[in-house]
Amino acid sequence: MEKMPVFVKVDEYDDVLALMKTIRHKLDEAKETLLKIHDLKNEEDHQLEQWQNTLEELEKKVEFIDHALSEPEQY
């Protein structure tokens, strides 16, 4: 009784199949868009990583300059 069979009229069946095709197409589009968002997120992360490296390099250079200016060699 719980699993009752479902019947669809034949003339509507074609429409249902066409609709399913459209839904699948839309789903594929959404999946592609999501992939694009994922790629963009990766690009963002990569950019942030680059910033991190650049700042670290910059910090090293500033430290060197600061050292050269504030602690000169004494004779």
Binding site: V16, L19, L27, T33, I37, E44, T54, L58, F64
Partner: protein, 157 residues
């Protein structure tokens, strides 16, 4: 004495002309600092400048990526909305209404309730009135739809 007087008057005159610079000179004497490797320091300064510029360029790139991401997210939202519309409005029409189990049971126990049970899924649940912003209304609408779907799933077991 006269020399002293003249000296003091000269000093006073000088002070009148540049009082601030004199004080500054007294407080901060000039130092000559030897930089052991000036070319290296110069190179470091130039490289630092270059990296700052690269950083700023990266900022421009990052902003561009963010804008593109926002646009893509909006596209995805539209796609999902379209999917929802297709499933909810079109596909649902082709398929029979849910709660078959309830219908069968009601047929056995109380036949007059059949119409009511069949009609319940077709009639949409009353949506909360749109209050304030459009977004909050949309969220409330989605929440009510979610509750409706969950209740339908619960009846399916």
């Amino acid at each position: 004495m006269q020399n002293n007087m003249t000296n003091t008057s000269k000093k006073k005159a000088v002070k009148k002309h540049h009082p601030k610079s004199n004080v500054h000179k007294e407080n901060d004497p000039e130092y000559m600092i030897q930089i052991s490797d000036p070319s290296m320091v110069r190179k470091d300064i130039l490289e630092s400048l270059r990296e700052v510029i690269i950083f700023m360029q990266g900022y421009e790139k990052f902003t561009k990526i963010q804008k593109e991401k926002v646009t893509t997210i909006a596209t995805l939202k539209e796609d999902v909305k379209g999917l929802k519309g297709l499933i909810e409005q079109k596909l649902k029409k082709y398929l029979p209404q849910g709660k078959l189990k309830s219908i069968v049971q009601s047929e056995e126990t109380a036949p007059p309730d059949e119409n009511r049970l069949i009609q319940t899924p077709t009639t949409p649940s009353p949506l909360p009135p749109r209050v304030g912003k459009e977004l909050s209304g949309e969220i409330e609408q989605l929440e009510s739809q979610l509750k409706d779907i969950e209740s339908q799933l619960r009846t399916l077991g």
